[in-house]
Symmetry: D2
Subunit: 415 residues, 4 copies
Amino acid sequence: MAGSPGRAWICFTQRLDTSTILKWLILEGYTVVAFLADVGQIEDFAEVEKKALALGAERMVIDNLQQEFVDELIFRAIQCNAIYEDRYLLGTSLARPVIARAQVRAAHKYNCKILSHGCTGKGVRFELAWKACDPSLTVIAPWRMPSFFNRFQGRQDLLKFASENNIPVSSTPKAPWSQDDNLAHCSYESGILEKPDLPAPKNVWTRTVDPLDAPDVPTKFSVTFREGIPVKLEVEGGKTVTGSLEIFKALNEIAGSNGVGRVDIVESRFIGLKSRGCYDSPALTVLRLAHVDIEGMTVDSKVKSIMAWIGNEWSQCLYNGMYFSPERELLENSIVFSQKQVHGKVDMMVYKGAAHVLARSAPESNLYSEEQASMDTLEGFSPEDASGFIAIQAIRLEKYGAAKIQQGEPLTRAA
Amino acid sequence: MAGSPGRAWICFTQRLDTSTILKWLILEGYTVVAFLADVGQIEDFAEVEKKALALGAERMVIDNLQQEFVDELIFRAIQCNAIYEDRYLLGTSLARPVIARAQVRAAHKYNCKILSHGCTGKGVRFELAWKACDPSLTVIAPWRMPSFFNRFQGRQDLLKFASENNIPVSSTPKAPWSQDDNLAHCSYESGILEKPDLPAPKNVWTRTVDPLDAPDVPTKFSVTFREGIPVKLEVEGGKTVTGSLEIFKALNEIAGSNGVGRVDIVESRFIGLKSRGCYDSPALTVLRLAHVDIEGMTVDSKVKSIMAWIGNEWSQCLYNGMYFSPERELLENSIVFSQKQVHGKVDMMVYKGAAHVLARSAPESNLYSEEQASMDTLEGFSPEDASGFIAIQAIRLEKYGAAKIQQGEPLTRAA
Amino acid sequence: MAGSPGRAWICFTQRLDTSTILKWLILEGYTVVAFLADVGQIEDFAEVEKKALALGAERMVIDNLQQEFVDELIFRAIQCNAIYEDRYLLGTSLARPVIARAQVRAAHKYNCKILSHGCTGKGVRFELAWKACDPSLTVIAPWRMPSFFNRFQGRQDLLKFASENNIPVSSTPKAPWSQDDNLAHCSYESGILEKPDLPAPKNVWTRTVDPLDAPDVPTKFSVTFREGIPVKLEVEGGKTVTGSLEIFKALNEIAGSNGVGRVDIVESRFIGLKSRGCYDSPALTVLRLAHVDIEGMTVDSKVKSIMAWIGNEWSQCLYNGMYFSPERELLENSIVFSQKQVHGKVDMMVYKGAAHVLARSAPESNLYSEEQASMDTLEGFSPEDASGFIAIQAIRLEKYGAAKIQQGEPLTRAA
Amino acid sequence: MAGSPGRAWICFTQRLDTSTILKWLILEGYTVVAFLADVGQIEDFAEVEKKALALGAERMVIDNLQQEFVDELIFRAIQCNAIYEDRYLLGTSLARPVIARAQVRAAHKYNCKILSHGCTGKGVRFELAWKACDPSLTVIAPWRMPSFFNRFQGRQDLLKFASENNIPVSSTPKAPWSQDDNLAHCSYESGILEKPDLPAPKNVWTRTVDPLDAPDVPTKFSVTFREGIPVKLEVEGGKTVTGSLEIFKALNEIAGSNGVGRVDIVESRFIGLKSRGCYDSPALTVLRLAHVDIEGMTVDSKVKSIMAWIGNEWSQCLYNGMYFSPERELLENSIVFSQKQVHGKVDMMVYKGAAHVLARSAPESNLYSEEQASMDTLEGFSPEDASGFIAIQAIRLEKYGAAKIQQGEPLTRAA
């Protein structure tokens, strides 16, 4: 390739594949800015920078996004009780939008018109976000370019290229699965985990201890919410934590050290495939449960039912990489509105892999009334009211029963 | 009242209130048939019969409904992953329809035109079911009749009536809460539990041991499903169980003795009030999780998403006492249809209050493919396909981003 | 009854039943304030006042609510394309909340603690609204009080009471159906209309001419929307109208005189019964169609799909008399948000009973692009992209087809 | 290309583009079987066959699919009141599955392993269906192959190729829009119709007369349904028609000649673009309305509400070309089940562009009851029951109102 094809930006980690792509781009003539988002993963950022510069990057940008990750994504997920296919708490999907947005900001700042990444299938969420944030940027996805993927058909090809180009290769043997770490969770998939009939090895999990190795004494704490947002954490016999990021980190520690937050599922990918994923999300798990609980005290039943649908749409939207979309904006407008009265405190316990709600209070809400709940006092309505309510609710049902009798299928039959 | 007003049927337990109603009906001149459904609760049925006859009932009918309870209600709930307000597994709601149906059958058999019960608010589900099953029956709900509730305004009035009428009163002091027991769960509510900011006392729970007192060694087992129905339970180092009722009882024992299945929530009642309920549902908890997991392997993603909505409608329908309704029939038609390929085995572990899925297999399904899931082999589609997919998915998003830029709110801003 | 039982307020019309109730309340000792909302119905308000005072009312309050009716209810319905059971445009349900709110305001102003009305079943929406707006008010619903309904068992009893109490009775024979008129529509039901197998008589309809008698020349006009609200009406060869109430009235005239807006349905009442209703809603019909059309140009497809669900919930909520509820507030928050970009103009024609959209434009929206829509120019995506899109969408479908072949039910069979 | 690359099958019409592709395939060495589905379009089938053979096709297969089109697709759409974005009756989407299935059957019969079509974007639905029906088939989509679309960049290139290869070109000038005709509708789009702010020309429409030119006398008729399927058509003063295809054709004639069934919309394509489509669907329009009406008499309200959601999912599924999918099978299972009691007759009138329901009867259903509907007779429930119903429904609303007062935003404020 003659002349410099331009300034490229790459999402860089220490992994062999992104190192290879970085070098390959330089060899193709690009001036390369390397970027890495700090979303709370365990990483030696100084080492990453050193490596990127050694490989020839013009600059290594490391952007700490932890605060906006918690405030804009993780706590929004808490507010809408986000969950995918009834079990997955969306840790990866939540991180993508903040990372992608910061990537575009960095591309703008360092005047790169080209974005590149080392993802195969997973690139979908990044690229959808980039196209929404700035459709004028060009994406180079080497693993989808024949000139690249035909050359690097397996790990051996990458190692050969590394050796020819002085790319340092970690002496630590690669784990037989891949993992992706951020504040919200760590995910584990592919490799030996692709056999869903085999349990994940004990040493897979990094953010949670094995429930069998967890402390013999439970840890109790309470979480206080304002407008559906955790604002205070009080640990029994211990400290009080405020500040969104601080609370989230403290709960990752507390729940993780008690073995809480593991999920092992076969899920439906956006592209139509099924895959197995193992995730440990200690703080997310605990906070989702606490939030569901405090909503029980503070949110009207019909509003809850509408918001369950909205939360499901939001989860699906995030999972499919559609954060930067008009529907996400619409859904979040509802989510925030629905939380205006969600103030209260939830008392919890974590112990050997399980999180338990013990009690809760919401003094500012009038929805729960001890007197009304009592069966002995029927203030708001008289006993006769129940008769009227039943009589009218039964109108439809009586017609149904009558039709069944007429059809010779009385409802009194056992199946 | 002159002359016999007819033959009445009453839902009878040993409790003071139903004893009082039974006697009161007899004094009013009714000939009374007493009925009690056996849905797996802990009860001395011989003692109940003895007491009813002593009080003057013409007959005590005890009807064992455990098998139809599991087959028609509990396992349908499992098939649709039934849950109410994200946490309650509907134990009480599931029992009501089988009981109500058996009650109507008994009324027919013993020629009673009048049904009576001792419920206050809870009577809603029974009465809706009765009206659907046979609208020609008359309901006497004493707690909603002024002539009754004005006379018996508190426990003292009941005790006085008991003493005057030789109604035996249990010497065991009444627990300061009420409980309702069946195979699916035991519920605890009212009394001291009406303070949601106080944890439930340790001795409330009857179907689960305290997680802190559970065994130090986990119990592993696997559940095999055919068409979404559990058909085999294999306990590690132990027995193999078949038969729906037997499997369900064995899992109640296994999960319960490991402290699995407790829920403590504030929920929205059908009639618009909030109330606090504590439930322990060991087998239901474990089977719901296992079923959600095996569906991950065997149900198409779009079908899953439709069925999540259907399952939610079914749960709401049951909670509201609308089992005998055309909508329930419609929803179940879908539920059964959706399970035609749900065959497979889930390996699980229960330990100190938590249930864990360890692995699963579904050899008859083609939805999960180890090869396709692998990132290294992209059989079904080429890497270029992903580019096309992304390009088309992005069409909407690019328009959204462009409009935002035009409106001066670029998506790259942090909130 | 000794002494005055207090100040009562009554919803008063000239009808025999409300006259009777007014008099009856006075005879019971109440001081009565009569109230009538002006929501655009055809009524001789001066005559109503004269009559109320003659009957002994302390005061007759007539409150013109037309502007808030259009702005807060009717145009919100337009914004969410409100419709009930696919056909009914909710005319009655839309009027109830503004009327009920004004009634409570009047009760407060004139110091009445008691509200009364002459409705039988229809009172549900009023009473639910009153209870939300001020639960401290007492409701007297004579038609549900045995002391009243046992005394007035038929029209003869009312006539007798009228004659005894100098209540003037209209000499016009009562139509053999009932009707309820407001700006949004006129409804016709009960009486001879309760035979759904007989067409409604030609003289039932009051807001629309018979399509067979409509002009032989169509009327063309255009409606301009800002944020989903009609802000300008331009009639071909005629005037330009602005102002929400003025536009709505003008369209009632234009559409009504062309026979547009009739609906004749059997609908499901909130209380579980089916009933037949005939409604003519000329302006609502035309504006709903125009709004649906302009949303086609200006609202993202996924947002449209979410809003269809939200609009349906809003419609159900209004139909059930739940306007003053937290869910309505939540839904409207979404509705208003969704309309932020709904600006544009729709050209229409009404002719002999039908409304037609002819064309539309929305220059401020980038969602429709003539170039992109063209099949000859595929700008945003290349032809190869479609292949990738199809390949990935097909992943699920191929598995489905393969499973069917394996099960011996290939998809190529005709049913 | 050396040697025959195999046997190909092509979807053939007389249009220039498919003629070109047919010839191009032959020149590329393929043995070509041409196929054309008869789904009720206006076409000179003999001429098509003659032309295909003249161009070198081995065989021209013409398959009459009208009966299965009506029975399996059109009447299923009627049963679920299918509609897309509130207006489009899905005519094109309904035809695609029967055609695609017949195409695969023909490919099997004539031993072709390759399928080809002349579609650009529209090929999505065909290809998704083919992949589901037989993923082993290879698709050649010339308009997405660079070797083809770079060669034929405009109509001039096609005309040149035609002239060089003796491909007859119609002397009729091509209309400045494209159209697609089948029993269900005729669609008109692209070309001059891509300007949505210009009305469609008067001569666009082929299946409906202009309402202004329609007869001055209305046509009245009744449609009888069994299980939601039209089984009899009785025309006032005229014939009685039975048989699904015959009824549908007769209604196309009756409604079309009265100008009923035109829709002009801007819709959201599956791929994310907006486009303008004009459709005339006379019989579909009338039958959908009739079916919605008869469901009002025969379907429980809650079932209606669930089925509205199901019908919407089915419509979306069909629109997106997902007919051969597990979700469609699931949805149809519900649709058919929901129709078990949908028996009755609807009386209608069509007149100058509008269809009107006049009356209906459903003697086999007990849901509508003239007595119960009457306000004068309150059989099933007493007037007091309404009080109880209201009191309990109001519990939530009172709490809402009380909270608003506490927050200083009483509900009595106008907005």
